[in-house]
């Protein structure tokens, strides 16, 4: 009896969740605010500044989605999530979209019932060593002590890499990035390994940045992207195509400064469809004509967002690398807007 009541409550809750979750787009419009799950402590990608305003590469995408759906990039409620709480926050409906440097993996996509709608940053695990170690390739790290954050996939990648190359190493486990950086600088390990973007940010803030090099090998694939709940395809499409709009805008040279001018003067039919001066793409998504235009105007196109938050003009100085457009040898590629 008790058990059946319990099960009944559970299934009722699940049903509720199903019903309410079926229309995230409607929910967001009705609420007037986008709940965006973000990281609060990743340099360049997502963190509040001294005034409490969220800034970063991932945060910019939250703003773009809010601009596309609600017409105002500031109508975002940022939900701070930790590595432990992020997926539950999304699954339970606490956030509408999770843009928190999460790696797209098979089990997360299939087993955890999420949809990764794109890859906004192609990352990979790398190594940083001191220059005077005299190492120029990760394959020369035989017998090295390596600082590694415990409980992360990087730990497994590291083991795989060394095993595959028949090398030995001694791990020095650390709890988080700040401790890893500290141990590495204090000489507790020869090499520090984490995502290459994180290594670049760490290196940028070291007192003697020139004495440290990031080795060329990238030993894992870490495609980081925004994700939504599985089964809510309408909402998934909105986030996916908002992101593609930013990439396409860079490809067609539409940026924050010239967007109004381009919208009125362009003769390129693809750009016209993108900016809503021709065709009816917005309505297919359940949005108005100018959704993509607003998304681009919010923070600029993909390239501008990259440069403003983590690019070569910032102290982090990440190169575009894999995140360059496909036309420039990278992997960022937006399907056609038609």
């Amino acid at each position: 009896m008790k058990k059946s009541v319990f099960l009944g409550t559970l299934s009722a809750a699940a049903l509720f969740a199903g019903i309410a979750g079926a229309g995230t787009l409607e929910d967001v419009k009705a609420r007037g605010v986008l709940n965006c799950g973000v990281n609060v402590g990743l340099t360049g990608f997502g963190a509040p500044d001294a005034n409490g305003n969220y800034q970063g590469f991932d945060v910019a995408l939250c703003k773009a989605v809010a601009a596309a759906v609600l017409g105002d990039a500031s109508k975002v409620k940022y939900a701070p999530t930790t590595g432990e709480t992020r997926f539950t926050a999304l699954a339970s409906g606490e956030v509408d979209v999770l843009i928190r440097n999460s790696t797209w993996t098979f089990s997360r996509d299939v087993d955890l019932k999420f949809d990764f709608v794109g890859v906004n940053y192609y990352d990979g695990q790398g190594f940083m060593v001191k220059k005077d170690l005299g190492v120029s390739s990760a394959k020369e790290l035989d017998g090295a002590t390596v600082c590694i954050q415990t409980g992360t996939t990087t730990e497994l990648n590291l083991a795989d890499f060394f095993k595959a190359n028949n090398l030995t190493y001694t791990p020095v486990t650390v709890a988080d990035d700040s401790e890893g950086q500290r141990q590495y600088l204090a000489g507790a390990c020869d090499a520090y390994t984490t995502d290459a973007s994180g290594l670049a940010a760490s290196r940028a803030t070291m007192p003697d940045a020139d004495n440290h090099i990031i080795l060329p090998e990238i030993i894992s694939k870490e495609p980081l992207g925004p994700l939504v709940r599985h089964g809510d395809n309408v909402w998934g499409d909105v986030v996916r195509w908002t992101f593609f709009a930013l990439v396409a805008a860079e490809e067609y040279g539409v940026n924050k400064a010239n967007i109004e001018e381009v919208a009125s003067t362009t003769t390129n039919p693809e750009v016209k469809r993108l900016l809503g001066t021709e065709g009816d793409l917005g309505a297919m998504l359940g949005l108005d004509k100018e959704w993509a235009k607003r998304a681009i105007a919010a923070n600029g196109n993909y390239g501008e967002i990259f440069e403003a938050n983590i690019g070569s003009a910032t102290p982090i100085k990440l190169a575009r690398g894999l995140n360059a457009l496909w036309t420039q040898g990278g992997l960022q590629y937006a399907p056609p807007f038609r």
Partner: protein, 435 residues
């Protein structure tokens, strides 16, 4: 025959100082530090360790920098003033970000609200801590939670007033039913009446009242709370709610009524058997699955409830220790005076049991207050990990390590040390035995 003149000393010899190696610092050091080969070695090692620490920490503290805009600027200033190899503390981070450590992301123009709430809190707890203050101040203490809620979260003033009316309803029901039905039944009735009030009347009434006379201040969302504001809100609420709950649970566990007893035992043992972090994850993750989506059950409230339950189970056991220490004669004396159960508890048993339990209760409270930093794991901005992670994510302060920990640790130490000193003072004041 020579004559002996007997010598009889008429006055006492002046007492002389003990020999030089039996007194003064040398004797003290010989006795305490170098009394044997083992102790000598340990002393020398200890001096070396302290000296080594001092050698590293004192220059680091002496080279503190307070005015800079980034860690690299700090480093440049230190290198310029003290030489290229010098290290120093970069307190400029604290100067620039202290407000986030204190208030989290609370809107800056509204900082006066938590500050005022904090000052009023000092007024509200004063009569609880010091019996010599006028007892009428307790009325303010009773009202304080509502004032505090309104000041911190904002919104309409009618909401706390209507909640307060629910307590009024509870008191009214209790008062009329108690003489006829006894304490437990009438308390249950009162609770039922209040629950009905809060569930069904609360929201419509406060909305309607606000429509008639709007008394609103700006809303502040729970996710804007952080730093010591968050720690103190969770800590103080849980501390003040867990003590009465713990008393009831301790009494329940010693009760003769089977149901009350077994429920209390089950609750206490379950909560004590589960780590706090598990309860916090339950609060933040599991509850979300059971509640219908969109129901906005505040995360801070959820955390406060579970932290309170957690603390109450520990307090209950501490108080049960106090109860067990009371001689049986005290209970019998209360019976002989013709006091009923609740009167006996209130007038005879509890004052003594609580007095015995003071050290245990206060150490539970200190532990609870420090445990509030665990909320970082459910995405709340505690001062130690949450805010520090935010500060370190700023490219200007990335790589800063000791300073945030030392800053937050110092404030925690001051608060906890204050609690501990107060409890020792209270123990001395209440000491009536002649041991």
């Amino acid at each position: 025959m020579t004559e002996f003149t007997p010598f009889v000393r008429k006055d006492m010899l002046e007492p002389r100082d003990p020999p030089g190696n039996q007194q003064g610092p040398i004797a003290w050091a010989r006795e305490n530090l170098f009394s044997g080969p083992m102790n000598t070695v340990l002393t020398l090692l200890g001096i070396l360790a302290v000296g080594w620490l001092a050698l590293h920490i004192i220059p680091w503290l002496m080279h503190s920098v307070w005015n800079a805009n980034s860690l690299s600027e700090c480093r440049a200033i230190i290198a310029q003033t003290w030489g290229p190899d010098a290290t120093g503390a970069c307190w400029a981070m604290v100067r620039e970000r202290w407000h986030q450590y204190v208030f989290g992301f609370y809107p800056m123009d509204l900082y006066w609200r938590p500050t005022l709430a904090f000052l009023l809190m000092l007024v509200a707890i004063a009569p609880v801590l010091y019996q010599s203050l006028p007892r009428k101040m307790m009325w303010f203490t009773a009202l304080y939670p509502f004032i505090c809620y309104w000041l911190l979260w904002g919104g309409t003033l009618w909401a706390p007033i209507v909640v307060l009316a629910g307590f009024g309803l509870f008191a009214l029901a209790f008062r009329f039913a108690a003489p006829k039905l006894g304490v437990p039944v009438s308390a249950g009735l009162g609770l039922l009446a209040a629950a009905v009030w809060w569930l069904f009347v609360q929201t419509p009434l406060s909305t309607a009242l606000n429509g008639i006379i709007p008394l609103s201040i700006r809303d502040v969302d729970s996710d804007q709370f952080g730093g010591f504001l968050l720690s103190i809100v969770i800590g103080i609420t849980a501390i003040s709610a867990s003590l009465p709950m713990g008393i009831l649970l301790a009494l329940g566990r010693k009760s003769d009524m089977l149901l009350v007893k077994s429920l209390s035992v089950m609750f206490i043992e379950f909560i004590r058997g589960v780590p706090l972090i598990t309860l916090l994850f339950t609060a933040s993750l599991l509850l979300q699955y059971f509640l219908p989506p969109g129901s906005n059950f505040d995360i801070i409230l959820r955390v406060i409830i579970l932290v309170t339950l957690f603390a109450a189970a520990y307090i209950a056991e501490v108080i049960r220790g106090g109860l067990a220490a009371l001689p049986r004669g005290q209970y019998e004396a209360a019976d002989a005076l013709g006091l009923d159960y609740w009167q006996a508890q209130r007038l005879i048993i509890m004052p003594q049991a609580l007095k015995i339990s003071i050290p245990g209760i206060v150490s539970s409270f200190i532990g609870l207050f420090k445990d509030t930093t665990l909320v970082a794991f459910v995405g709340l901005m505690d001062p130690l990990k949450g805010i520090t992670a935010v500060v370190r994510a700023d490219i200007n302060w990335k790589g800063i390590y000791w300073e945030p920990y030392i800053f937050a640790g110092t404030i925690f130490f001051l608060i906890c040390f204050g609690m501990s000193r107060y409890s020792m003072w209270l123990e001395r004041k209440l000491k009536t035995d002649h041991r």
